[in-house]
Symmetry: C4
Subunit: 236 residues, 4 copies
């Protein structure tokens, strides 16, 4: 199924590498990452592979060809000219792909405001309509987990399974987002930091006005359904 | 009146499309929008049409020709090569144009600091002279309203009719601004976020010093009148 | 003395116009101004003239040739091809030049953090060594004053005469800085916003540690004198 | 040992000058310095020399050839075409090189959030995993020290000797970072400001959740050792 001799697979891998490299640039543009931080990955359609950012390569040097092709076990796949090791967070991405088949893209950042909520293990309350649209309610907190085994991946899957939110604040760590593809996960990372910042600032100024649950439900439902077949037209 | 066979109308539509596309770039430059967010619209002079940003098109891809020409009912007008659907906020813009004939431009953003005040349903007090100049007093809060009917448009018109401010903070949502044309509304959006940020920061540090009402009145009057025939020369 | 037929005067005016236009770009670069806001001026060496930014021209369109040559009465000087009116703050700049002969440059901004302190009429305490170097102590607050007569200029001169600080926070308004030339005043504006921001953030987190007066004095003295004949070498 | 007639030494000096000039650009990119502020230095491998930024030269004008070659006494070395004086902080850098032979690069900034913690003489607590990775615990505060003798250098060495952190917040002043080379020290400066900002914001919102010491130890150990032979691959 991941036979690299197939022209179709080769084309799919090449296209995914190009998308992942380009999308990392969006994390830079929106100020979500610094130095070599942050990582974007995407499943290769029609295969058991995913592509992830290389480890320790600065944003300026990310190219389609240096993105790393991995198996769903989170190790570099043979035969794909992987010149670099994969991101140190690859195990967490792989765990998500193995356990959430509907997920096609994963993003991780230490973006400032989201990480600030995570350092307090405090969920972001849903007090702005754009957040109801995009996340359908609060952005939840996942467990404290140490890099090195499946505990980060497990915490992401446990928190987001069955949850409306595509973003989770991993306690004392940062944010992971999921999406139907990498662009969708990047959008979630950008929107997560935006609402994390806005709600933080709002809260510093005094009492937040809640949005009634029924209105959150209506907004989320409309955004997912009225926008309909193309819930996020921008991504097409 | 909106006969697209008239050369004059065609020229007016083309010029408006160019202005709207370019002005959206100012929202990006000043950091008021992210991803595909925010929208600018402008009446087409001498017609019953207005031009608005397309839905779900990223800022990098906005071009004069993909701006959407709409009737005052908020639907795409026939015969204008509209390749994209209009912004999801088009109904609110149309409601404003129908009910406030003096308004020639409308802008909507979720800019961070303005939205933070909106999440507390708190008007921004007028404690800096630039705010007295530009808004003539506090920036008011409009009602909570859900997208999908005229309630957002109604809330904007109800709040801003007869008010000095060209900006309204829609509760739990974001900011809408109006102007005599799109550039004027964009300026109001830029200035609104600027004063929202400055006054937020000022308030975090302690007690604000009020400006006496008579001084607010003098400043607003001077800015509107002494600058005279061209109250905002920069816009010419 | 301001005879524009003299080659020397013409050269001095042209050089000053070029410096003023370029220095305004530094206000943009450091995020101190938005839209058409802020203004830089500089005396023309060897004359009774100064050059100031035109009114209502956006930063992108500032050119040496559209900077306005004014007399010390704050009105455009005859014979200098002034195509635009001078900044609306010209009267305040002129008042400073008339009353502080040692001042060669003036800058005005509504930069965010400095204006936030001004909205509380609170001086910025000197708790960082760079502030002791540059301002020699706290940055003082000037009176509330309305545009339209000499009251702003008078407030600046009254506050800064005999003061170590080259910056004054005009209550509810913004910041004015002075310098031996325009570059020196721009540097003061950049540094003023930087310390306004740093000290604001420091204060939000808890008790500030004061710097002993004798240490402030030693730092200021060293910065002015040890750096010696060229106290700010960077400006040469 | 510092014989400039050796081709090898000349090449090493030229390469170091190029690195120091380029790395200063990273301080600008990450917003850690303004105007002519901040300084980067690096030992010249195989010599008793180091290269440091010139004094009072703006970031735009930094070139490899205007970086200053100094002896370990902190004075310009003869025979290296030093056209500018060295940074006013050269004595502190030199003191570090003389007393910490393992240090190959030093950086100094007044970055906003780090300096805000310094103005309260408050160490940054280790509440995010990236901080445990990079600094192995809190970022400590060094003593108040006045420029002009060895007291700043002494304070840096005293605070960082035997400490896991490569960054020190000098009270009321700013931050100094050390590294095995200049790039490593620049990375520490970038990460220090990032965690200073994130933890400040987190703390403004409420109670921070601590990370257990054993987890801080595991994270630091892994980051230094599992990443192994190339603990910071990005720097290669």
């Amino acid at each position: 199924m991941t036979d690299q001799t197939t022209d179709e697979t080769r084309a799919a891998v090449a296209a995914t590498r190009a998308r992942v490299a380009a999308l990392h640039g969006e994390l830079v543009r929106y100020g979500l990452v610094i130095w070599t931080g942050g990582n974007v990955s995407e499943r290769v359609p029609g295969t058991d592979l995913f592509v992830i950012k290389p480890s320790g390569v600065s944003s300026d040097e990310l190219r389609p060809e240096n993105q790393v092709v991995c198996t769903l076990d989170g190790v570099p796949a043979d035969g794909w000219d992987n010149a670099h090791g994969p991101s140190s967070d690859t195990a967490a991405h792989a765990y998500v792909y193995r356990n959430m088949p509907e997920v096609g893209g994963v993003v991780h950042t230490h973006s400032t405001y989201a990480t600030a909520w995570a350092a307090r293990a405090e969920a972001i309350p849903c007090v702005i309509t754009a957040m109801a649209d995009e996340f359908g309610g609060p952005i939840p907190v996942g467990p404290f987990a140490i890099i090195g085994d499946d505990s980060i991946g497990h915490g992401i899957v446990e928190t987001l399974s069955g949850h409306r939110s595509r973003a989770v604040l991993m306690q004392n760590h940062g944010v992971f987002t999921i999406g139907r593809d990498a662009k969708d996960a990047v959008k979630a990372a950008v929107m997560c930091e935006d609402v994390a910042r806005t709600v933080h600032i709002a809260k510093q100024g005094g009492e937040l006005v809640p949005i009634a649950q029924e209105n959150i439900d209506r907004l989320f439902d409309r955004y997912q359904n009225v926008y309909g077949q193309t819930p996020e037209g921008a991504l097409q």
